[in-house]
């Protein structure tokens, strides 16, 4: 990989992260013309600054430029870092939850370029140029996304831990058009576990937000 030629800084990759290519592994872009979030550069705790620099020497890391909830971030990440851990541990976006770290529970569901993904299963270095939307990015100021409001109206959660993932998955479900029937919603939402057992009301919330009811 070290012999590969970096992409031109002037042409930020726009490839979907779901079709990984060599180029998504290459540290490339600059913030030319973009809005770079303050503190977007790997913001470790102060004490870690020196150690992390040392760590970066030894453990392979990459620079990635990605947009999260409309804010551009350029980060240098350990290549082992999942999108979920990038969000939670580096970008202070703790809304996305870790429930299994193995793609089995859906608590970490976010949208990447409009598609729902388990953020625990995708490496941050694959996301060059990607647009990520997390639960923190749904509301417009104080105005909740219709599905967020529907979750409150229908009491579609109890403990609330799976809720960010359920809501992001529900947004995906609606945008994919999988809301033709309650059965279709149930099927489409079955990648998101809810141990409090709010499934009946999650379906109602998706129906409400999709305009089915």
């Amino acid at each position: 990989m070290s012999t590969e030629t970096p992409e031109s800084a002037a042409s930020p990759p726009a490839r979907s992260p779901s079709t990984p290519s060599r180029r998504t592994f290459i540290a490339t872009t600059t913030a030319a013309g973009g809005v770079v979030a303050a503190g977007g550069l790997v913001a470790g705790p102060a004490l870690l600054g020196a150690q992390e620099a040392a760590a970066a020497d030894a453990s392979p890391s990459s620079r990635v430029s990605l947009t999260v909830n409309g804010e551009r971030h350029i980060v240098t990440v350990d290549n082992r870092t999942s999108l979920l851990d990038l969000l939670r541990e580096h970008l202070d976006l703790t809304g996305s939850k870790k429930g299994c770290n193995a793609g089995a529970c859906g608590a970490c569901t976010v949208l990447v370029d409009g598609r729902r993904v388990n953020s625990c299963l995708i490496l941050a270095v694959r996301l060059e140029g990607a647009e990520v939307t997390t639960v923190e990015g749904l509301a417009r100021g104080e105005r909740l996304h219709p599905l967020q409001q529907a979750f409150i109206d229908q009491d579609a959660f109890q403990c609330g831990y799976c809720t960010p993932g359920q809501i992001m998955s529900g947004v995906g479900c609606i945008e994919e058009g999988h809301t033709g029937s309650a059965d279709e919603i149930r099927e489409s939402m079955s990648g998101n576990l809810c141990r409090c057992g709010c499934y009946v009301k999650i379906v109602r919330a998706v129906e409400q937000a999709s305009g089915r009811k």
């Binding site: 870690l48 453990s59 851990d85 089995a104 923190e136 409150i152 403990c159 609330g160 831990y161 149930r186």
Partner: protein, 734 residues
Amino acid sequence: MSPQPQAAVGAPLSRVDGRLKVTGRAKYAADHKPDGPDGVVHAVVVDSGIARGRITGIDTGAAEAEPGVLKVIHHRNAPTLPYGPNPGSLNLPGQRLRVFQDDQVHFHGQPVAVVVATTLEAAQHAASLVKLDYAVEPSETDLAEAPATGDPVTYTRGDAEAALQSADVRLEMTYRPARNHHNAMELHATVAQWDGDRLTLWDKTQWVQSPRAELAANFGIPAANIRVVSPFVGGAFGNAARAWPHLTVAALAARETGHPVKLVLTRRQLYSGVGYRPAYEYKVRLGSDRRGQLSAMTHELRGETSRYERFSERGVLAPGQMLYTTPHVSQTYRTVALDVNTPTPMRGPGYSTAAFPIESAMDELAHELGIDPIELRRRNEPENDQASGRPFSTRRLRECYTVGAREFGWSRRDPRPRSTRDGDRLIGTGMATAVYDTLRAPGQAGVRLDADGTAVIESSTSDMGPGTYTSMTQVAADALGLTVRNVTFRLGDTNMPTAPLHGGSLTMASVGSIVQDGCDKVRQQAIRLAVEDEDSPLSGADPDTVVVRGGRLHLKDDPARGETYRRLLARNDLTRLEAMGSWTPGQSRSSMYAYGAVFAEVAVDARLGLVRVRRMLGVFDAGRIISPKLADSQAIGAMVGGIGMALLEHTVTDHRDGRIVNANLADYLVPVNADVTGLKAIYVEGRDDEADPLGVKGLGEVVVVGVAPAIANAVFHATGRRVRDLPITAESLL
């Protein structure tokens, strides 16, 4: 005092913390970052790969060489910790696990080392590089193979053996409910930060007092030095009540490295690092006459526990003693010590385990005698509690049966098994009774009414999902005469007045009564202030005639005469009124339980054995319902949990080395959205004024108790096959 109008209590309020939860701003344990410049470092637990033996070697060289690793702590370099006594805790008879204090391995997955590193990735990778050598000893992890240990718990009433001998009908069955893991969606997590000899923990806990007391005992420091903060809990179902070993690991790692530490157990580690509902063998013998009148019932139980602690649960014996009229009862409850980690209470503890054999046995008897299952239960409905001889405070079980049968359409049921088909599917319906203790405990809550007419109430209780924030806000709003909007309830911090454990369905009864008491006191202070204030429109009024509504005090019979809290406090130069609420349950002369009747309809694929729950109905007598919208969610959610218990959930252990092979959410199956349709809950009207001032009995447990047997009975009705082992899998029906 004049009773306050009830506007918030009983209203279908949406969760007051809903906005925080749907926007991702509700902070769970692992979401916390300590203040200060240091940030947080990451700890990852290394656990044992054998079930029993000694650690003979540990090689941490490769792990320590990993960039970013700060320290690897294990029994050879860990400091000796005091591990003092912790009376009043949820620790069990035996000796609790002492992390990194010796070379002994008691179960597969025991924490044997912890890696602390500046990044999570480094800690995770380094943990995989720690090499352990063991001297392996033979282990036993199979309940079916191991002998019981210790003296059994017994209960005897009458002469069950003699009564069985003379009974017209005798049945004998053995049921095996599987081990269940709570598997709350939130991983157990702790952030630990030392400041000298003071420790702050952000922890997943149902009882902030619990980790505080445990770490005070383990580290030998005063409890007052420890603060535990836990504003949100991502589900727990009993598993975040006791303080588990990883708490000590986190605090130790933080102390040894000098940095705040975040420790999050992995999903796999939850199967060994925290507790579970134990597996049981439960043998029932019952005798009755031809009309179904029970004369005798015997219960012989074997339940799993660890070798280092003895777990037993009273609730597994209670239903067999008091649910039905039974003159002769004999119970023998043995625990079987295995090379496993220690069990812990799980939703509906004991009761939900016992309900499966007892309610299945009643269904078997009904079938044997050709009596309708509901009618059989009615014929054995007791007039008082035969275990204690006490009258029931309230027992609306007959009403639950009546309402349930009507709403479910029970009268249309053809009682013959395998009598109804829908294409390839065999359709069956079944029902079961539910019962759970009305538990209550003392505690305190601070109430403050501010000059702006808003109130803040604090108590160190928890909200693992039922909606404590919301229901307490409702109680407080009515007791203070404020709108819900002007009331804030806070919880989950040891700096707040002490509340009891958030578990056993006791929070509404207990903390609710405590909150109401504190709010009543503040309201009465305000009323007294007004009637004694010459400048108040209420001057000279009888305090007992004054009520408060919408923040305004007025005469009950003359609403025009009054004034607001704000005016009253401003005129008297008061910035606030404060009181400490408290309540201690008295000795009751009655037997207090919540009840329910659960109905299920299943469709079983005749060729594949796949069971699908088509609809369920639960009718519950849980006393007064404070927050109906949330109560509905709890009952329906419990049905989902019960579907898991009945049809999906069990651990598979490799008994050669004690490893649980399905310790993840892909192989340990829990219900998903597509498994669930048509759930409905009804709460019958009524208060229980003997239980507590609010009249509630608690509902989080009773709603799960009857679910699994109702489904099992429906499967029998559908197929004619009686499956006595849970879960009922496709294999068991083929």
